[in-house]
Amino acid sequence: MEKHVMQYQTVHFNLNGKDVERTVDVRASLTDMLRNDFRMTSVKKGCEVGECGACNVLIDGEAFNSCIYLAVWAEGKRIRTLEGLLGPNGELSDIQQAFVDEAAIQCGFCTPGFILTAVEILESGKEYTDAELRKLLSGHLCRCTGYENILRAVKKTMYKRLGKPMPEQ
């Protein structure tokens, strides 16, 4: 077998509002780098092929499965993980609090990925129907909740941010 020549590259990017740099093996996925080099435990591994959404992060405001994204592609990007949502004194953001309040969390393994996609949805500032929200959240699999309370949490936060009352079912 031909020997692999180790290849490292220094990546500069912004992680949760802070400029950082790391020298990484070019073979690393963004999941690998965030978990191993930055100890971001919110970035979960559920399938490693982009089917479950547990490793989701926001890159320049859009949701990506970090498992199928090379770490070196982070160069110059603005990356957000769930860790970045927390206030300085550990305060939960509104969407995290909604997940807590609506019992949208069970085993918790899909939770970080879902919350970050919810952030992308909420930051669009738009009002979506239930069907649209279901589609926007459909890149995440959850086996515990049947998605029901996750929908409630996102919807509730959306209306709260829009300053509108939540419509009755």
């Binding site: 435990t41 019992a103 969390i105 393994f109 998605y147 996750i150």
Partner: protein
């Protein structure tokens, strides 16, 4: 007195999980860990003749290559059952750490330990495994044929076990003139749990003992199995269960903890991590038994069940794991849900060359309910009776007592659940509205009941231990062997502990992680026993703790114990309700007393010798697009009587999850195998169709609360029951819409195409 039980208290682990701080197995593993990767067989049945490891061992970063020729000859069982001291009731010990006799496509034949995952994967690919291939069999009934391939020498004919139930005289009774015979075969698929965190573990040695941190539901059982598999005294094994990302029964087996532990012992006790890839989780962990059921009912035209025959063939796959208990539980439901005087019931658990089937949410009941409740609607169609009317006439009556378990139906649960569900979905109106449809797109409504038994008594031991350790601020630490796996038991426990002891729920600190070195013995998370079984231990231990506290209060206040109470964390004089002192002051004074220092704790084991029925039903409304062979689920409602709700919000959430899983079971999920090779075809989350966010409508959960009299908190099963009745309700709704009786699940477009063609609904 403020009560916590019955309130929707926020999950004790919600903050940790909402922030991503909750530590799961891989979050705790040192980055220096060696990586173990398994080489799985690429044949469905045969013997490993040789494994050439030379090329693999030369790959840089590879530390050790271990094969099926290296493992200890210690067959071990894997099922997450309490151990039986009676050898006749022990689980079947039928596998080794790595197997020369491979029995399914994906069996474990070798393992590579390497410095990183890339080297490990390269080395696994570089292994040259030579097999002697044998014929294989995937179908459960073909495996019972005389010339079928033999999978385990100890089980000729591949039958792991056969049991039966006989009542009255079936053969005589069915001769009654005027009876209508209804016969059906019902197939359920091999499915997988698909918890989002795959199973994985890491192991290392410390002080001559092996430590395994694992994503498991059953740490104490895994300790025993690791000991058995490695030939170690059980005290030399320590298992730690951190937060886990779902289990649903898959992690109610010892999975790769024994192999990982052994790997560590083979590299000088170094830290070794073994994580299943999703593809391995589907095939080389556990699956749900595919069960084929044959039911014959002889019915009078008025809907009276006169004689019934039930045969179930359970596809065990390659290894015994949970074995016969699964189909036996399903068969057990049959005579009880619709009692009949003349019965012949048989069930067989049969080895095949599929992945090993183990426990999965419902433990035989989803299969039994799909068959049984589909069959009830087939009877209704045959005799022209409304499905609701037939059920009301034949369902288990109030006062029914099962002779074996002594379970009793205390209240009119079934009718209460039916009433609630009918009102919620507007059943009667829709039944009328959906009559006589003719277009290409038709709607239908269906229902199905379920039977469920909360815990495992009297089939197995039911025992639960817990420990309460009082802090000097009046709060306490609570530990139990029953595990939080996402279902929310830690929160329910904190509520029960608060009420049982008499302190605010905020003052209960549940220790969520189990560590067999520290945690009192408990068999873990399985059946739907957590709140039921745990509540006995909590009640008993709280009583012991209160007694100690009140005795100390007596010493400190000089009031007689009979005039003292502990309410909301305060020592209260009963006669006038005066607060004498806080529990915190009591505990501090007590511990630091120069005369009589005491650390106030209590620990007890409760053996539970009762069990409880947990019943309910599902209603489903569908729209069937006949030319497109598609079913759209419009509405679905589950109604449960799980006794008193400990935490309504978490109970509702639990039902949602079970319904979602059952919708997949009914409509889309099936692990498929290549008939020519036995190779699994869709062992990934793209090709295995579990429900996405867009695949179901609003899930509605309703409850009827009849307090369970045997339980200290009036509670009983809710974990598995939600997964039991939605699939047949959907099937029956499709029957209602189209007149087509489907004989299997999942009811995919492929199945509908075939059935609609047979029925002449579509032509080509």
């Amino acid at each position: 007195m403020s009560k916590s039980v019955g309130k929707s208290v926020v999950r004790v682990d919600a903050y940790e999980k909402a922030t991503g701080r909750a530590k799961y197995m891989d979050d705790l593993c040192g980055r220096e860990a060696l990586v173990a990767k398994i080489c799985h067989s690429t044949i469905a049945h045969g013997f490993v003749k040789s494994i050439d490891t030379a090329e693999a061992e030369n790959i840089p970063g590879v530390v050790r290559v271990l094969t099926c020729f290296d493992v200890p000859d210690l067959p071990f069982p894997t099922a997450g059952h309490p151990w039986s001291t009676d050898p006749g009731h022990q689980d079947v010990a039928d596998r080794l750490l790595l197997n020369r006799h491979v029995r399914y496509y994906g069996d474990d034949v070798a393992v590579v330990i390497a410095e990183n995952e890339v080297a490990a994967a390269q080395a696994v690919r570089a292994l040259k495994v030579e097999y002697e291939e044998l014929p294989f069999v995937l179908d459960v009934q073909k495996a019972m044929e005389p010339d079928a391939p033999q999978i385990h020498d100890e089980f000729p004919g591949n039958v792991l076990k056969h049991t039966d139930i006989r009542k009255g005289n079936y053969e005589e009774a069915r001769k009654e003139p005027g009876l209508i015979k209804v016969e059906g075969w019902y197939d359920t698929p091999t499915v997988q749990h698909c918890h989002i965190e795959n199973h994985g573990c890491f192991a290392y040695m410390e002080a001559g003992r092996v430590v395994v941190v694992s994503s498991t539901q059953i740490p104490h059982i895994v300790r025993r199995v690791v000991g058995q598999a490695l030939g170690l005294p059980w005290g030399k094994v320590r298992i730690i269960k951190p937060y886990i990302g779902g289990g649903f029964g898959n992690k109610q087996d010892a999975l790769y903890e024994p192999l990982c532990a052994w790997c560590s012992t083979q590299v000088g006790g170094r830290l070794v991590k073994l994580e299943c890839a999703r593809e391995e989780t589907f095939v080389s962990n556990r699956v749900r038994h595919a069960i084929r059921t044959h039911i014959i009912s002889y019915v009078r035209p008025d809907g009276t069940l006169v004689a019934r025959k039930f045969e179930a063939f359970s596809n065990q796959g390659a290894y015994a794991s949970h074995g016969h208990g699964v189909v036996a539980k399903g068969m057990g439901a049959f005579p009880q849900l619709y009692p009949c005087d003349n019965l012949e019931c048989d069930c067989w658990t049969v080895f095949t060359n599929r992945p090993a089937a183990g426990a999965m949410r419902g433990y035989g009941i989803p299969q039994a309910m799909f068959a049984g409740e589909s069959h009830i609607d087939d009877i209704c169609k045959a005799i022209g009776m409304a499905p609701l009317e037939f059920r009301r006439k034949n369902l288990m009556p109030v006062g029914y007592v099962d002779g074996f378990s002594k379970n009793e139906l205390y209240t009119d649960t079934f009718n209460q659940c039916l009433e609630k569900g009918m009102a919620a979905i507007d059943y009667q109106r829709k039944v009328v509205e959906y009559q006589n449809q003719t277009g290409p797109i038709r709607k239908g409504i269906g229902l199905a009941m379920f039977w469920y038994n909360t815990a495992v008594w009297p089939i197995s031991l039911e025992s639960s231990s817990c420990r309460m350790v009082l802090n000097q601020d009046g709060s306490l630490q609570f530990q139990t062997g029953e595990t939080e796996i996402g279902q929310g038991c830690d929160t329910a426990y904190s509520q029960m502990v608060a009420d049982a002891v008499g302190i605010p729920v905020e003052d209960v600190h549940v220790v969520s992680s189990q560590d067999t070195d520290v945690t009192p013995f408990g068999t873990g998370a399985y059946a739907s026993r957590q709140t039921y079984v745990g509540s006995f231990a909590i009640q008993q231990t709280a009583t012991a703790l209160r007694e100690r506290i009140l005795n100390i209060a007596h010493e400190q206040t000089r009031m007689p114990v009979s005039n003292l109470d502990l309410v909301d964390g305060q020592i209260v004089r009963k006669t006038d309700g005066r607060v004498l002192k806080s529990l915190g002051d009591l505990a501090t004074e007590c511990l630091y007393s120069l005369e009589h220092s005491q650390h106030i704790t209590a620990e007890t084991t409760a053996q539970i010798k009762t069990n409880a029925y947990s019943f309910g039903c599902s209603f489903a409304e569908v729209e069937v697009d006949i030319p497109m062979c598609k079913v759209k689920l419009l509405n679905i409602i589950n109604v449960h009587d799980c006794g008193r709700l400990i935490n309504p919000a978490l109970a509702e959430a639990q039902v949602h999850g079970g319904m979602s899983m059952a919708i997949g079971y009914g409509l889309s999920e099936e692990l498929k195998f290549d008939e020519k090779t036995g190779k699994p075809l869709n062992n990934n989350l793209l090709d295995y169709k579990l429900s996405t966010f867009m695949d179901h409508p609003t899930l509605q959960a309703e409850f009827v609360e009849n307090a369970e009299p045997t339980s200290p908190f009036g509670t009983k099963a809710l974990g598995e029951p939600p997964a039991c009745s939605p699939a047949p309700a959907i099937r029956n709704a499709i029957l209602n819409a189209t007149g087509v009786a489907i004989d299997c699940c999942p009811i995919t477009p492929h199945v509908l195409y075939r059935k609609f063609k047979e029925a002449g609904l579509i032509a080509d």
